[in-house]
Symmetry: C2
Subunit: 281 residues, 2 copies
C-alpha cells in the first residue's frame, strides 16, 4: 500500500478522520516486516503446529486457517476499538496487526508452560495439557470426549461409568495425580467404554451432568439441531439460480436482526457508481 501511495502517512494527511487497518504477515515494524507470509507459514513459525497432532507422528496444521482468521478477528476487535476512540475523541488511528503476533497471543497456556516451567510443550493428541481426564476416548464405534474439569466431575464420571472405585483410587485423588497416571486412567476408562457406542455413553454422561460430546465430522456438525436453531447456516443466492450455504454470524446482538440470507457477491464493478458517489468522485 505504501508503494502504491496509499500508506497511513499519506492518507492520514489527506483524510484525518480515516481509520486505517493493516493486517500483514509480520506487522509493519521489526526485522521480518517485509517478509511474505501465508496462514501455514505463521502456523509453523508461531508454534501451534508443535503442540497439535499426535506424538511421534508427522506435523499437523490446525485444520482451520487460524493464522488468517486469528489475525482477522484481532483486526476486527481493533477496528471497532478505533471507531469507539474516534467517536469519543475525534482522533483517527492506524491499526497494525501481524499474523505472527496473533499466533503468539492465541497460544495462551503454552506460553506460560514454557516461560514459567521451562518445559517445551509437545503435541498431546486429544488430551488437555493440564487437566485429566479431559480428552477423547475410544468407544465401541468411535470416540467420545469426556471433559471432567474438576474433582467433582471426575467422581461423577466414575459413577456414570460404573467404576466408583476409581474415584477413591489414591492414584486419581487430585488432578495432579490424574495427570501423572493418565496412561493407566485412560486404559481403565477405555476398558469400560469399549462395550457400548458413543451414543450410549453420551446419554449416560449427559444424565450424570458430565460435560462431554462426540467428535463430529463437518456434515454432523452442520446438521446439529443447535446450528439451525442459532441460524448458523445461512443462504446466499449464487446469481445463477442456485443457492450457497455459508456459516452464519456467531455474533448475536439484541439491537440487530440476524438475517437468514445474505446478498450474493457483487459482480465486478457493479457498485462503482455508488462507491464513487460516496467518496465524492
Amino acid at each position: 500500500m505504501e508503494k502504491l501511495g496509499y500508506g497511513w502517512d499519506t492518507l492520514h494527511k489527506k483524510y484525518p478522520k480515516l481509520i486505517y487497518a493493516a493486517a500483514s504477515g509480520f506487522g509493519h515494524t521489526g526485522p521480518n516486516s517485509k517478509d511474505p507470509a501465508y496462514d501455514m507459514v505463521v502456523q509453523g513459525m508461531g508454534g501451534v503446529m508443535s503442540i497439535t497432532g499426535n506424538e511421534g507422528q508427522p506435523p499437523a496444521r490446525v485444520g482451520m486457517s487460524i493464522g488468517d482468521i486469528g489475525a482477522g478477528l484481532f483486526t476486527a476487535v481493533a477496528v471497532n476499538a478505533a471507531l469507539v476512540h474516534r467517536l469519543k475523541t475525534g482522533e483517527a488511528t492506524k491499526v497494525d496487526i501481524g499474523m505472527f503476533d496473533c499466533q503468539i497471543a492465541l497460544l495462551e497456556n503454552a506460553v506460560m508452560r514454557y516461560t514459567v516451567e521451562g518445559e517445551i510443550p509437545g503435541p498431546l493428541g486429544a488430551r488437555h495439557p493440564t487437566i485429566t481426564p479431559f480428552q477423547a476416548f475410544r468407544t465401541a464405534d468411535g470416540a467420545i470426549i469426556i471433559a471432567a474439569g474438576n474433582d467433582g466431575l471426575f467422581i461423577k464420571t466414575c459413577e456414570a461409568l460404573g467404576r466408583s472405585d476409581m474415584a477413591t483410587d489414591p492414584d486419581y485423588k487430585t488432578n495432579a495425580l490424574r495427570q501423572k497416571h493418565h496412561g493407566k486412567l485412560e486404559r481403565e476408562i477405555e476398558q469400560v467404554l469399549k462395550d457400548h457406542t458413543t451414543a450410549h455413553w453420551l446419554d449416560v454422561l449427559a444424565k450424570a451432568g458430565v460435560p462431554g460430546g462426540p467428535i463430529n465430522n463437518i456434515k454432523q456438525a452442520l446438521e446439529h439441531p443447535q446450528i439451525a436453531a442459532r441460524n448458523m447456516l445461512v443462504e446466499v443466492p449464487d446469481g445463477s439460480g442456485g443457492t450457497l450455504k455459508l456459516a452464519g454470524n456467531p455474533i448475536k446482538m439484541s439491537a440487530f436482526e440476524d438475517p437468514k440470507t445474505r446478498r450474493p457477491a457483487p459482480d465486478l464493478d457493479s457498485d462503482r457508481d455508488a462507491i464513487l458517489s460516496y467518496i465524492g468522485g
Copy 2:
C-alpha cells in the same frame, strides 16, 4: 446469571445503558442452550477435530484452546460494536455468543467444501486443503513449510530446488493437477530436500521469494527476533519479587501506547473500595 438475578432483562430495566455480553457453550437459545461445555467439547462437536491431525491416527485437538479463545474474540468484536452502537444511538445491547456457533464460523472453507461439493473433509496432516504444494516437507534434520500459493510461486520453488523440469511437467501444470498428483510431487520435493537442513532450505527459498518457514517449537517461537521487536512477550511482577512473562497484545494502534509490562493480578478484594465507589455503593 439469570438464576442469580443478574440476567439481561433484570439488569437492562435497572441500568438501561448497560451493555451485557454473555459467552456460553451454546448461546441463550436453541435446544442445547442449557448444556455444559468446555473448550474440548465444542472442538469435538464443531468439526475442527475431524479435519485436524493425520489420516488414520487417533483424533487430535487444536493445540491451542480455540473453543474458548475463538468465542472470546467474537465476544470482544461484539462488545466493541455494542459500544459504537451506544455512542451513536444511546441504545444498549445484549450480546449472546455461543462457543459452538463460533466453531462453525471459524471452519471457513471446510463448510463450503461440504455444502457445495457434498464431500466431508478429513484430516490432511500439514497439507493445505485446496493448494499444492502448501505444506510441511521433511528435510535432512526436520521439516520445513513451503507455501507456493500460485503457479508463479510453484515455478520459483522448482527453480530454487534445482528442479526446473518439474515446472514444465504436465502433471504439475495447474494447481488442480498438483492437487491430483500431490503424492508424487511430495516424493519428488522431499527427494531434493533430504540432502540439506531446514536452515539451508529456508535460506534458499527466502532468496527465491518463496513463502515458507520452519515449524518452531514454543521456545523457538518466543525467542524469534520479531517477537521482541513487536513487544509480544511482556513482563508482569508476580507480587513476590519474581517476574512472569506473558504474551503481549497483538493489537498495535497508533493512538495508544504498547507497554512492556503489565500490572500483577490484584489480590482478593484489593479493589473493593474503588469498585464500590465506581458503582455508587
